[in-house]
Symmetry: C2
């Protein structure tokens, strides 16, 4: 059972046939089947995620990391508390978040949180924008068992034919460009965009344009932190973990709080 759990936990969302385990372990399919049933119960009882069995020729078993509502709220509250540290205030009212975005365990949990938010969207790829959002997007891609695709700023890509769109940064009002190798996203793909920060939504808007050029579809936008201002964003239907209301540089206070999705979260209610 541990061997099966190891495979399932290491490769989330991948569908394994019972035969895979029977062969690898030299066990009867019926034994494997019993082990999986027991594993499903344990995961359910201890809230470790979901073990699903699919019947039929194309069937098998797969594991999906899931956050419960409680885990989600605790994760957001813990993160908000850490981000309130005045030492994080950077000149210009920015917040130092890079260290947290680089802790593998923490981004692993956040990846599971995004996988829970977007469980019903069945993305084929997870998109990230270089540089800071990459770890978060990779762990989300891992939870969905789909490739990560990293969009590059500017047109500096030396990876064959590429597609570039311009976008207006919602906060600075400057025109910038983002580029993707043409072969990175196949036509018809369902793309989930994950980023560390959303202020005006200009970058996310650009991602929609970029996906249209690739004949792909954006099925969701998830960000770790959204800025409370401006209230009007260039995209809607996104999901955030935290809401950043600003800093007081003189008093050394950081105003940041869990988002409504992490507080009253249900998988069904997300982004609707």
């Amino acid at each position: 059972m541990v061997a099966i759990a190891h495979r399932l936990f290491q490769e989330p969302h991948k569908l394994f046939s019972l035969g895979t385990f029977a062969d690898a372990l030299g066990a009867a399919k019926s034994t494997v089947s019993e082990d999986i049933a027991a594993l499903r119960q344990v995961c359910e009882r201890l809230q470790l995620g979901r073990v699903e069995t699919l019947a039929g020729a194309a069937g098998g078993v797969r594991y999906t990391p899931l956050c419960t509502a409680t885990q989600m709220r605790e994760l957001a509250e813990d993160l908000a508390a850490r981000l309130r540290d005045p030492a994080r205030i950077l000149p210009g009212g920015f917040l130092y978040t890079t260290d947290l975005l680089s802790l593998p365990t923490l981004v692993g949990r956040l990846g599971a949180a995004f996988a829970t938010f977007f469980a019903d969207r069945r993305p084929d790829v997870v998109l990230s924008m270089e540089v800071k959002g990459i770890p978060l997007a990779l762990m989300t891609a891992r939870a969905f068992n789909v490739p990560l695709v990293t969009i590059r700023r500017g047109g500096r890509v030396t990876e064959g034919p590429s597609v570039t769109v311009n976008y207006v940064s919602g906060s600075s009002r400057t025109v910038q460009s983002m580029t993707l190798p043409l072969r990175a996203v196949p036509p018809g793909a369902r793309a989930l965009f994950i980023d560390d920060f959303l202020r005006g939504g200009g970058t996310a808007r650009g991602v929609y344009d970029l996906m249209r050029e690739c004949q792909a579809e954006v099925v969701g936008v998830g960000v770790l932190i959204e800025a409370a201002q401006p209230r009007e964003k260039l995209v809607d239907g996104y999901v955030s973990v935290l809401v950043f209301e600003g800093v007081d540089e003189r008093e050394g206070t950081v105003r940041i709080k869990p988002s409504r999705w992490t507080l009253g979260h249900t998988a069904e209610a997300v982004g609707r």
Copy 2:
């Protein structure tokens, strides 16, 4: 036992006290202890990695993902075979590798491979150079349960005081710069640098310089692919997974093979 395995597998290299599991599961410490012993045996027998128990007040149990020599060789051979696809040849004799570096499962396995290579180095941080090497470095950091630190090209960092060094790209002979927020790497830290490609070793050389400025130590350099040419590198003691000998653009052939570390690998012999 599954609950314990889940925690250990999800957070590799983290030391858990037996009390943690006893409390979380409402079980006696003796039961937890028996489960861990059984888990250790299963992981050993099925080569799923190492479960270690440390005695004493600061003791506990931790899981380390490890590649066996066979798994390492198969991983390198599989990867080399995929990279020999002529469709990967880019103008200028480069190779398209971005898609493989973005597959969570594959980079997860490579992270475990690097964790095996450098098992005795006990890094405090894993360093990566933006952009392509980030997923590989993150999964290595995950295997060691240490933070990832991403070095930025150029001086575009807006994350507080930073340290910048210049380096000469070993292949193009141009002077470039790399930057790190000063707070990212504490003095005395043991840093493992993981990157996707090493040609002349100029970037790795720069990382040594950067760590000296941070009063930190480079305890290892691991790359996915090293170029066979130039033979003389600016650093030594690095470890690679694959050796790239070049492409024939007219014939459409890619010459790439597993490195000696993946073929005759023993954890003790690496990088000495």
